[in-house]
Amino acid sequence: MNIVSGRCCQLKRREKLWVIFALVYAVLNVAVPYTFLKDTGSLLGAFLFWNLITASVLAAGVWVTSPWGRDRTKGELQE
């Protein structure tokens, strides 16, 4: 089944990177706390990890949306 191909419903280049990034995030977000950090009883364990990995997703969101509203030839669009 070809879900994201063809003229319709294409993902843009940045969106494809975003999906790959999201999949990596989803795996690490569960795998690291449930393996390496499960028994770490300090703020430097799962607490710090979840803060850092979420902050990195939010920062990446700022980057991936940076071209929004800009047309390379026309500058800032009104809508």
Partner: protein, 483 residues
Amino acid sequence: MNATMLLAGVAAWFSLGALLSWHARRSLGEGMIEYFLADRKVGGFISAMTYSATTYSAFMMVGLVGLTYSSGVGSLGFEMTYLAATVILMVLFAPRYWAAGRIFQLVTPSELLSKRYGTPVAGATAAILCIIMLIPYASVQLMGIGYLFEIVSGGTIPFIWGMIIAAGVSFVFSWWAGLRSVALTDALQAIVMLAASAFLLWYISFSLFPDGLSQALYARQDLLRLKWSFPMFVGLTLPWAFFAVTNPQVVQRLYIPATVSSLRKMIIGFSAFGFIYTVLCVLFGLAAAAKMPGLDKPDNAMAMLLSVVPAPLALVVSLSIMAAAVSTMNSVILTLSSMFGRDIVRAFVPEISEKTELRLCRALIPVITIICFLFAKMQLGLIAVLSAMASGGLLMQLPAILGVFFWKKATAAGAISSMLVGGVTVGYMYIQGLKPLGHWPSLWGILISGVVFVAVSLMTRPPENTALFMSSVDDFIDPRFGS
């Protein structure tokens, strides 16, 4: 805290909100898009704040604090996963919803399903699912305020009066000027929520933990170890991870930003708000566990924390919890009323005028508010089950929503059957308390819903306008959202 002080605080907060509603009312135009979407002209900051206040309910300062108190750091993982997943989904879906809303003049999220799948039954099915799932969810917001006021006032303000006050405030903020009013009052409430929480953390850090919270947590290292089982983590996180595309009150907000730049500011503003608010709420849970261990009811952890801070600070924090509940409830009610008019009544009485439709929707706002109140008043254990079921039930729309934008072979029959079969499966499993192989109903529901969606879609024909629908959205997005 004495009841007079609490009621005076509520009156001051309500007056400020009512003033904003009155201001919004002055610029209110005519029509459904004006009333429910503020004419799609909301700026980035207000969009971000209304999205944040709608998303974060009283659960954060009561439920999440209690969950952290009793089960530790796993609750941070749950809530942070929700936040990250919301941002991931917004980046992919916000441009598409925003574009489709403008191209097809959509008012409700489920109207998009009707448009894409070529039948009003698709939107009506989604609308009915949302109404069934979200009325208990809104009722729990009222119950939360009822309990909070009763505890904070030492029983002087009874449970029922706390709920009446909250329902009244919610009704005024939403009915008076629709989304214009809700967006402005949400912005006020979001600022109150964040500022009050920051002040509370500042106070308890210095007065309750002079040696630092991290020092105090050495005695509670058990809370920093991951105690949540993997099925519990998946079962709780999975439905909430897709909240951004399955909960209509937040999806409807993707239609409202005035420009692409406003839409981006909404996502970035929500990201910042969500991160700070989540960290603060989890720290309150850890602080309460370190300072006052052994509470019988973990959900009382915040109320106990408020009992050891000065009354003015406790008042502001209590108002912020009420603000969180009211901003979620009035958004849910406003969205449900628009869905009832647009996706159910108009679907079957297409000749209805927009004026009559709007009148009907507005009349439904007090009706839904009263239904929520009556539901909450019963205090049934069933409400807790239905409320917990809400996110799982709404998740059953996910295959149909993905099909709208990303699968041209998706059909109306596939979308409708997946929502019905998934909704019934999740409802049955929750009510019966079934967890096959230890996994929660939402996981089984989404698997079954997904299989039904793909199988039925492959056996039926997609609507003729599918390619046109998708290319319209892509053509609208391409020049506005970069490569």
